[in-house]
């Protein structure tokens, strides 16, 4: 018989949180008497195990009684597992030889029957004791961290993150799919609630990012592949051919002036305006170099034209330029790929795409933007008529189980902003149709009050439909917004000239593929999932990958900036430690037992399992393994084992929970 473990059991009262329901004294005594065979040499109960006195008690026992394993029956391991591990470490016991049993969240707080809760607590402890016997001392895995960071997405969140890291003195690669950084914020006219000019506050940041010595800007580029693991990622980036030599181009603008081919700009101008086949998306674009849109360029289609080349003063046009594939080494990655606007066509009864004067929010942003296609004139689709009555519909595609169940967070404030701009610039009557007005940030509620004072109409009711079918006098030639004013219970038909649909935010269409590429997860909605919704909002479950801005969920500019900075701060902290300790919960494959059947090869979403063709065996890369244990469960030969959650640990825990191998005493009445 191998050496018998010496186990200490510690039952916490948690004040009355546990002791009020579970008879902790009885549980403790029971463990001491009945679990001797399993190795329990001491069992105590104490008022607050997590207090420093409680911890000292454990540490003292470890030393005096030579404990080799510790079981603490207290709260959820998510709360205090680390506390008790540290306590063990303090007494020179490997922290992974401690097991926490939750008799608070799983017993005292959820049960009212004291006897049953006490009996259940005993079983849970028996399970913990049976399990802890099979714990092994573990050491965290240490890997060095590459100081460079990749930021994917050049919107405001990505720009902020890149600047923070670059300013701290570390290299950053900022990858953006479009020809310029700036993101959605560059499209806006004003920002709420201060009505700052969006371009005026964004442009300096773009310029700083574009000229920062520590930032390598990779626009018109996309990440194709991510290999490696935290501290040591190797990222493949495709830098698409701009057809413009960046060394020679001065951004003078003659080329796009001379280009004869006009194209409807569905990206930056939201379809409201045009650009040329060679273009920069907007005048303040960073970098300043244009790109040739090869799908629309006459030269690429017909082989003639070359107007741009002819007029370029620096010979920068390069029709033969090819995509470049770059391999970048980075230690950490921030995903800030932003959002997409909900496609308002999906709500057929709102008429977008069918009724000319129904606009989306992004269209309206361009319409009201002084640099936009109408020079900031708010006019109907005919390009000249100023609307007299405007209806703004909130929650388009949001808070609706038929589309997206979540609240898009920015639409209320955006709608108020629109109402203000319409009112200010056209003097039109404005109706806001809303379900609830949500203005929870600084200065937002005040802005709402300002709108109320401006005389904007607020009708509480989700719009049922928008129609041009006239029924009543006064409706001719108008769009009729049909809605219940829920505050009076009246069904209204409000005739308006223009409708603005405050469309919600949606994850990027390719969010799922992006998540897969970077080995992180996305919610059913498609937003990328943070490690913890409250306490770890910018990290992800994959070490070294962070998220910032709307890619994580709908949010406004200040929140995106804050997340960008937060992600940067997290990464800077890691970089400065120079190496990272990884949780030692890992799978490993016994090379003798592995037959190379390759069942496991396809199971790891983190690509941690590699197959050696030569030896016909599979192997786990411990740095990539995230410890989920799926391969352990799947291995038909039982050749894969997982530390921290081994078969022996769990099978023994089952035996313990079922009170097998425990001598039966008299039943508690």
């Amino acid at each position: 018989m191998e050496k018998k473990e010496r186990i200490g059991v510690y039952v916490c009262h948690c004040g009355t949180n546990i002791a009020g329901v579970v008879n902790v004294g009885e549980v403790s005594t029971w463990a001491a008497e009945n679990l001797k065979e399993q190795g329990v040499v001491i069992s105590r109960d104490y008022k607050f195990m997590c207090s420093s006195l409680g911890q000292e008690l454990i540490q003292k026992d470890i030393k005096e009684h030579g404990l080799t394993r510790v079981v603490v029956a207290a709260c959820s391991p998510h709360l205090h597992e680390q506390t008790f591990r540290n306590a063990c470490k303090g007494a020179d016991l490997n922290p992974y030889l401690c097991e926490l049993v939750s008799i608070r969240e799983q017993s005292s707080w959820v049960h009212t029957d004291k006897v049953a809760a006490t009996e259940k607590s005993k079983a849970l402890i028996a399970g913990g004791v049976a399990r802890v016997v099979h714990h092994e001392p573990l050491e965290p895995l240490r890997v060095p961290i590459h100081p460079a960071t990749l930021v994917v997405g050049g919107g405001i969140a990505g720009i902020q993150a890149a600047l923070e890291i670059a300013n701290a003195g570390y290299p950053v690669y900022l990858v953006e799919r479009e020809p310029s950084i700036g993101g959605h914020m560059a499209q806006f006219d004003k920002t709420f609630p201060t009505l700052d000019c969006s371009a005026c506050i964004l442009t300096p940041k773009m310029v700083e990012a574009g000229s920062h010595p520590n930032i390598t800007l990779l626009t018109y580029s996309e990440v194709e592949k991510v290999d490696g693991y935290v501290g040591n990622f190797v990222v493949t980036v495709r830098k698409r051919a701009r057809s413009v030599n960046e060394e020679l181009c001065t951004g003078c603008g003659i080329c796009w002036e001379k280009c004869p081919k006009k194209v409807v700009d569905n990206v930056f101008e939201a379809g409201m305006g045009t650009r040329k086949a060679i273009y920069v998306p907007f005048p303040q674009a960073v970098p300043k170099y244009p790109v040739i849109d090869r799908e629309n360029c006459t030269y690429y289609i017909k082989g003639t034209c070359k107007a741009c080349e002819k007029f370029c003063p620096t010979n920068a046009i390069d029709f033969a330029q090819e995509d470049q594939i770059l391999n970048i080494e980075v230690g950490n990655i921030i995903l800030a790929t932003g959002y997409e606007l909900f496609d308002a066509r999906r709500i057929t009864q709102y008429g977008y795409g069918r009724l000319a004067n129904v606009f989306t929010s992004l269209e309206f942003e361009r319409l009201s933007n002084a640099a936009g296609p109408t020079g900031g004139n708010i006019v109907l689709r005919d390009g000249k008529t100023t609307p007299k009555v405007v209806g703004i519909v909130h929650c388009v595609g949001s808070r609706d189980k038929n589309y997206n169940e979540y609240c898009s967070a920015i639409c209320c404030m955006q709608s108020l902003k629109f109402a203000h701009l319409v009112h200010e610039r056209t003097g039109a009557e404005v109706y806001n149709f809303y379900i609830d007005i949500r203005t929870p940030a600084k200065g937002y509620e005040e802005f709402y009050h300002r709108l109320l004072e401006e005389g904007t109409h607020f009708i509480r009711g989700k719009v049922a439909e928008i129609t041009d079918a006239v029924r009543l006098p006064g409706e001719e030639g108008k769009l009729i917004v049909q809605v219940e004013d829920t505050l009076t219970g009246n069904q209204l038909r409000v005739p308006v000239d223009m409708v603005i649909l405050s469309a919600g935010l949606e994850p990027r269409r390719d969010a799922k593929e992006v998540a897969k590429k970077f080995g992180i997860s996305c919610s059913a909605d498609g937003w990328l999932i943070e490690r913890h919704p409250k306490l770890d909002p910018v990290a992800t479950v994959t070490e070294g990958i962070y998220i910032a801005g709307c890619v994580q969920g709908p949010k406004d500019i200040p929140a995106s900036v804050a997340q960008g900075a937060a992600a940067a701060a997290r990464i800077l902290g890691k970089i400065q430690q120079k190496e990272i300790a990884l949780e030692p919960v890992r799978a490993s494959i016994n090379q003798e037992q592995c037959s190379g059947c390759r069942i496991c090869n396809n199971l790891c979403p983190f690509n941690a399992i590699l197959f050696h063709e030569d030896r016909m065996v599979s192997e786990v890369n411990p740095a990539l393994c995230q410890g989920c244990g799926t391969c352990v469960a799947a291995c038909p030969a039982g050749a894969i084992s997982g530390t921290g959650f081994s078969n022996e640990q769990i099978l023994s825990q089952i035996e313990g929970l079922l009170l097998l191998n425990i001598p039966k005493k008299e039943t508690v009445a």
């Binding site: 969240e105 979403p605 989920c628 425990i662 001598p663």
Partner: protein
């Protein structure tokens, strides 16, 4: 030689007061946190389920379920993150596939399908978790005790020796 265990796994009063013993498996990220949440919110549910925390429902080895049944559990609960929400991208699907196969095998073994339950619960779904546990307990209760003859498998259980009459 007898198969009657010296220790009954639990006090199983027969008849109306039968309280099924249920072993539950949760993943660390969603369903265990749902249980935590039920606790934090002081939601009440039946005390019949004893949970085991795995890192991921993908870790669920069918052996664990068989072990629980063989060891005297009356039912087994398996829970994990909602499909599409797995902390490890998609490992819960792998559990789901095994679950369907396991269910078929258990049925052939004569174990009523009602004794095995799959529950998706997110970290926010404490209420659902509690409610589903109650439902499950009520679903198992009418089936009565399973009382599987304990046996830990050929290679594990130490056999009992008896005098052989000559």
């Amino acid at each position: 030689m007898t198969d009657t265990p010296e220790t009954q796994p639990f006090d199983k009063a027969q008849g109306e007061s039968f309280e099924p013993v249920i072993i539950g498996f949760t993943c660390n990220w969603c369903s265990y946190r749902a249980a935590d949440m039920a606790g934090t919110a002081r939601m009440k549910y039946a005390p019949n389920v004893r949970l085991i925390r795995l890192m991921c429902s993908g870790r669920l080895d069918p052996t664990f379920v068989l072990k629980a049944f063989a060891g005297g559990a009356d039912a087994v609960l398996i829970s994990g993150c909602h499909p599409g929400d797995c902390h490890y991208i998609n490992q819960n699907y792998k559990m789901l596939r095994r679950f369907h196969l396991l269910k078929r095998v258990l049925q052939q073994m004569g174990i009523e399908p009602e004794r095995l339950k799959l529950l998706w619960a997110s970290a926010a779904e404490g209420a659902i978790f509690a409610e589903e546990i109650n439902k499950f307990v009520e679903q198992v209760r009418p089936l009565g005790p399973l009382n599987w003859k304990p046996g830990n498998g050929a290679h594990v259980e130490a056999p009992v020796h008896e005098e052989v009459p000559a």
